[in-house]
């Protein structure tokens, strides 16, 4: 049933990469905001920051649940909110799907009715079938008649996702959707969101303070601090930013690579990955060759050498050039090595930088143990 369900929007809207939502806000109080960004079709943008950084406020402003004193939000050319002209489209007139942190299901309705409540835009006769298909999409067949009180946390969040999709949203907003769930449930929901995003052409915004979720799901990251953007970019470049304390602390800085599983070496219990940094050996992965996935290499697990050493257990020796050396507190240096088309981050002692005579432009070998290559959120 899930396969017959079309989540895709009109072809003209489906063009990935097209700017759909623009956002700008400048307010001092009660919550300081001073930022502008846009959201592109088919992209998952993570709003990442500590609590109080304003990320949820941004999300609520897009949904129309919060009205900053000075802001402008447009979606697909339509102005949703503009304090300059006094225009404000109420939340129920904006086509947004919002998944709340605490699920916010209607407690007096069954799972099916919860989803049907968001289907008022369809003819009455079509609503139930559509709601059942959406619940099947999030693997809740058989639980349609349960009330929220009779569902587990993970099941409730799946209903909330189905309800958000029911609206046929022009933008899908996820407000810390995994934070109330335990780890195993979280990991299976990551897979769910991943599957949905490939079928959804609208922009998706993920608000989170957990960098694992960013590394696992986001294409683009906006790092917020006190209502301002302190860093913005694709997940690979942001995850390497050891100079941003919240990333260094929360995530343990590293490099995220988009990889394709090339081969599974069952006899050696290893996987071969094609990455922009070249071929990399990783532990055995539970996926078919050809699968696209993300891997993460913590910068602490990268060793730098001036040549490929012998008699070492390390599987991956990647040849590159030093791009940048940035000192960090604690006599540590963050070295960016250009390998192929990516920057691989390595965290080494400043003493080692001096000993090896590392300087921008110098050829260097980055050594990575295969066990250090992990798939985030798995």
């Amino acid at each position: 049933m899930a396969d017959t369900l079309s989540l895709d929007r009109a072809p003209s809207l489906a063009a990935a990469g097209r700017e759909v939502v623009t956002f700008e806000a400048r307010t001092e109080s009660p919550i300081p905001l001073d930022l502008a960004f846009s959201l592109r079709a088919g992209e998952v943008t993570a709003l990442f920051g500590a609590s109080g950084s304003g990320k949820t406020t941004v999300l609520r402003t897009i949904a129309g649940l919060w009205r900053p004193a000075n802001a402008r939000v447009t979606c697909d050319g339509t102005v949703w909110y503009d304090t300059a002209t006094g225009l404000c489209l109420p939340p129920h007139r904006r086509r947004v799907g919002l998944v709340f942190q605490d699920y916010a299901l209607f407690p007096h309705m069954t799972a099916l009715k919860n989803v049907m409540a968001a289907l008022d835009h369809l003819p009455k006769a079509e609503r139930e079938a559509r709601a059942r298909a959406l619940l099947a999409l999030v693997h809740l067949e058989g639980l349609e008649e349960r009330r929220p009180a009779e569902l587990s946390g993970g099941q409730k969040q799946r209903v909330a996702v189905a309800r958000a999709l029911a609206r046929d949203p022009e933008v899908l907003l996820l407000d810390e959707p995994f934070s109330a769930l335990d780890r195993a449930v979280r990991v299976s929901l990551y897979g769910e969101i991943d599957a949905i995003r490939t079928r959804l052409a609208c922009p998706i915004v993920l608000v989170t303070h957990d960098f694992e979720e960013v590394a696992r799901l986001a294409d683009r990251v906006i790092v917020l601090e006190r209502g301002r953007i302190i860093a913005e970019g694709d997940v690979g470049s942001i995850s390497a930013r050891a100079d941003i304390p919240i990333i260094a602390a929360a995530a343990e800085a590293g490099t995220v690579l988009i990889a394709t599983l090339a081969e599974v070496l069952h006899d050696r219990r290893l996987s071969v990955l094609d990455t922009p940094a070249g071929r990399i050996l990783a532990p055995l992965l539970d996926a078919a060759p050809g699968t696209r996935l993300r891997v993460r290499i913590p910068s602490r697990d990268v060793i730098l050498a001036d040549r490929v050493p012998e008699g070492l257990s390390v599987h991956n020796a990647l040849h590159g050039r030093v791009a940048e050396i940035a000192p960090r507190p604690g006599a540590v240096a963050d070295v960016a090595v250009a390998v192929g088309s990516v920057l691989l981050r390595a965290q080494v002692m400043e003493d080692a930088v001096a000993k090896l005579g590392l300087a921008p432009g110098r050829p260097v070998v980055a050594l990575v143990k295969s066990v250090a290559v992990t798939v985030p959120g798995a």
Binding site: P91, H92, V96, F100, A104, P107, A149, R163
Partner: protein, 222 residues
């Protein structure tokens, strides 16, 4: 048993419930969701009839309903009879003194709905009216019924205000609570006893209903 008084009391109770229900739902919801200047003062004012002696409330209402007040004059010009010592006057008084009994349970019931649930209604495409009828009302319903049951039971038992505003006109303003007093004054203990037992039974049933409903609110949340 003074059947006329019992029926009058029940009529007054039902009229009060129907008159007060829309006011209580509107005001209780407003107190739960809206922030405005002087909200604390309004909440205190709502509770005032709980603290004031009924004779004081009755006295002020009598003055307000009388021939010398603008309200009393307007009513007399409109209907030809006095608001004080009439069923209509009794109804207005009954609605006013039941404000604390009805507003507060309704306010608590609306407050108990998580803000995110109402917001989820809005982002699901429901207009404010649809959110009210499809989400807020069903969730607040046990609290609203509790408020109305309390109002009904309290109306049946109100004595001081009714005596002051209504006098004791049989068939017009002589309620069962007044009739009990009347019978005791006449040393008719048997009749007084029967009527007192009737009121006691009604009160116990009312409490049973409100208890059951408030447990239901508790179960809903999960």
């Amino acid at each position: 048993m003074d059947w006329e008084a019992l029926i009058l009391s029940i009529e007054l109770g039902i009229a009060t419930v129907f008159g007060l229900a829309p006011i209580a739902i509107w005001a209780g919801r407003a107190l739960a969701y809206r922030e405005f200047r002087g909200k604390g003062f309004v909440e205190a004012l709502v509770a005032l009839p709980l603290l004031l002696p009924p004779t004081v409330v009755g006295f002020y209402l009598l003055v307000a309903f009388g021939r010398h007040s603008p309200l009393g004059q307007a009513f007399e010009a409109l209907t030809g009879h006095l608001l004080a010592f009439s069923f209509e006057g009794l109804l207005v008084a009954s609605i006013l003194i039941n404000i604390p009994f009805s507003f507060q349970p309704v306010q608590r019931a609306f407050e108990a709905i998580e803000p995110s649930i109402r917001e989820a209604g809005a982002v699901s495409g429901l207009s404010p009216w649809q959110v009210f009828f499809r989400i807020e009302l069903p969730l607040a319903w046990p609290g609203i019924v509790t408020a109305l049951v309390l109002t009904f039971a309290h109306t049946l038992g109100e004595f001081g205000v009714v005596l002051m505003v209504g006098g004791s006109i049989p068939g017009e303003t002589k309620t069962i609570a007044i009739a009990i007093y009347d019978r005791v004054q006449a040393f008719d203990d048997r009749s007084a006893n029967i009527m007192a037992l009737t009121l006691l039974a009604i009160s116990i049933v009312a409490l049973g209903i409100t208890n059951t409903l408030s447990r239901r609110i508790g179960r809903r949340r999960g």
